[in-house]
Point group: C2
Chain length 276, copies 2
C-alpha cells in the first residue's frame, strides 16, 4: 500500500495556506504504530489527543471519526506508522481565534521504515545535545506542533552515526530524547525524568510506567542529573514506534544492554500487541 | 485589489501537507506594512528574515526574489499588510532535515484592516496575561513559527474589550505584548525590556531604539518589573503594522497619552514613510 494523507476525510496532498498549524504551530499530533490492520494502544492515543486539544482549547467532535476513516488503509500483514495532526483550523492573519473556526485533521499513513540496524537489539548511540528545553508548564507534556527545540537538537546530530540526542532542561537536568522518552535502571530500580516543566509525556512512557511493577521494578519519577544518568546500570529510550531501544553508548560512555531492559522489551511488546 | 497568497512564486491557496512549517512550526515569518506601492522598512525586514533563517540553519537563495515577486500586487494609494512565511520546506515524518529540502516561501497580501477605533490616537486597553513566556535563548528575538504561547495568551482576551495583553517571563518580569513590543516613559527617559531570554525583537522596536535619541530621550534596555511599568508616566506598544499605540489602561490603571509618545509617533511615522 502506498503512503497517503487524509485531510478532513479526503485523500489529499495539500492543505489551506490559512491553516493555523502552518502559521503558528497551533495544533497537536500523535504518532501511532499500526500492525496487522489495527492501531496499537489506540484508545490511549485518542485519550491523549483529546486532553491535549482541551488544554489548547481546540474543540472538535471529529475525533471519534478518526479510526473509521483511517481503518480501511491498514491492510493485514503490514506494519505502518499513522501520524495524526489536528490544528485549530484556518484563520486570517492574527493570533485571535475566530469563533467559527473548524479544526483541520490530517492523517498520514506510511509504511514503518526499516532502520539500517536493529537498534532495539544492538542498542542506540546517543550524545547530550547543546540545545536545552525551555520551561513552559502551560505546554509541558503535550505533543504540540511547536517543535523548533527538537529541530535544533536534531540538527546537532547531522553527519554523525548517532540514533538519538539527549535533551536537558534549562538547569542542565536530563529530560528526554529528541524523539523518545528516557528511562534508566540503577540497582534494579527504574527512573525516568519528571516532565512538569518541559518534555512530551509519551504514550509508551506511560505504558511502561503502568506495567513495570509486573517485573517487580520500583519506579521513581523525578529530577535526573547527567551524573546519575551516566552512572546508570542500563539506559533505554521509549516511543510508540520504536517501543524500547537500549542505549549502548552515551557521550562516549558504553552501556550494557541489560536484563531489565530486555525483560521490559519482551513484556511491553507482548502486552501492547495483545492490548490492541 | 483582492487578498491573495503567493506560494513559491505562484498564486495559490494551498501548500503541501509535507511542509515542515505545518509539522513543526519549522520556519519564520515577517509582517510588513505596504503603503502606496512599497513595503516600508523593507531592507530591515529582509535583513531580519535572513538572520532568523541563518539562526535556524535554513538556507535559501530566494530572499532577493521576494520583492520583485510581490511588488506587482502593491497598487498605489493602497495600504496593505504583507506577511511572509519561509519554512524549511517539505520532508517525510521525523525531525531530521533532508539534505535536498528546499524552503517554501509564502507571501500573504491583504488590505490593512480598519480597526474599530483609532487606537493610535485614543490608546489601547491592556491587561497582564497569565500565560508566561518561557526562556529559550536559542530562539529569543526570532519571529519564528512556534507561537503557542501567544495563542494561549490571546485566548485570555476573548470576549473582553482589550486590544493587547502584556506577557511576562517565567520570573514575572515584563517582556512584551502578545502582538507588540513594549516601551514606557519615566521622567522623560525611555525604557524597554531586554529580549535575550524570550520575546520577539520587532523591527519597529529597533527603529524606535535607533531614532529616540533624536528627541533627546535617554534609552534603557533591561529588566522591567510590573511595579516599574505601572509607575510609568506613559506606556506604548510598537509593531510594524500599528507603528505606535499608546496604552490608556493597563490592568485597571489609567495612563495619559503623553507628549513623549505623541512626539515619537509623529517622528517615527514621518521617518518610516520617508525611509521607504
Amino acid at each position: 500500500m502506498k503512503n497517503l494523507v487524509i485531510v478532513n476525510g479526503e485523500i489529499s496532498d495539500s492543505i489551506s495556506v490559512y491553516d493555523r498549524g502552518l502559521a503558528y504551530g497551533d495544533g497537536v499530533f500523535e504518532t501511532v504504530l499500526a500492525n496487522n490492520g489495527k492501531c496499537l494502544l489506540w484508545d490511549r492515543h485518542l485519550e491523549r489527543l483529546k486532553k491535549s486539544l482541551e488544554q489548547l482549547q481546540i474543540a472538535t467532535d471529529e475525533l471519534n471519526n478518526l479510526y473509521p476513516v483511517l481503518k480501511p488503509y491498514l491492510p493485514p500483514e503490514a506494519e505502518q506508522v499513522v501520524k495524526i495532526i489536528v490544528t485549530r483550523g484556518n484563520s486570517q492573519r492574527g493570533y485571535a481565534v475566530e469563533a467559527d473556526s473548524t479544526p483541520n485533521t490530517l492523517i498520514y499513513i506510511t509504511e514503518k521504515p526499516k532502520p539500517v540496524q536493529d537498534w532495539a537489539k544492538i542498542g542506540a548511540r546517543a550524545v547530550f545535545c547543546k540545545t536545552r528545553l525551555a520551561y513552559q508548564p502551560s505546554l509541558a507534556g503535550l505533543k504540540h506542533l511547536n517543535r523548533l527545540e527538537q529541530i535544533l537538537a536534531r540538527l546537532e546530530l547531522t553527519g554523525h552515526d548517532l540514533q538519538e540526542g539527549i535533551m536537558r532542561g534549562q538547569q542542565g537536568e536530563v529530560v528526554e530524547g529528541i524523539m523518545h522518552n528516557l528511562f534508566f535502571v540503577k540497582n534494579s530500580e527504574l527512573f525516568t525524568p519528571d516532565l512538569s516543566q518541559c518534555g512530551v509525556a509519551g504514550i509508551m512512557r506511560t505504558f511502561i510506567i503502568e506495567n513495570c511493577q509486573q517485573l517487580g521494578l520500583p519506579l521513581h519519577i523525578g529530577e535526573v542529573s547527567v551524573e546519575q544518568l551516566l552512572a546508570a546500570d542500563e539506559i533505554f529510550l521509549s516511543n510508540s514506534i520504536n517501543v524500547i531501544w537500549p542505549i549502548c553508548e552515551l557521550d562516549g560512555t558504553r552501556f550494557e544492554i541489560g536484563t531489565v531492559t530486555s525483560q521490559l522489551q519482551d513484556m511491553v511488546v507482548e502486552k501492547m500487541y495483545r492490548y490492541g
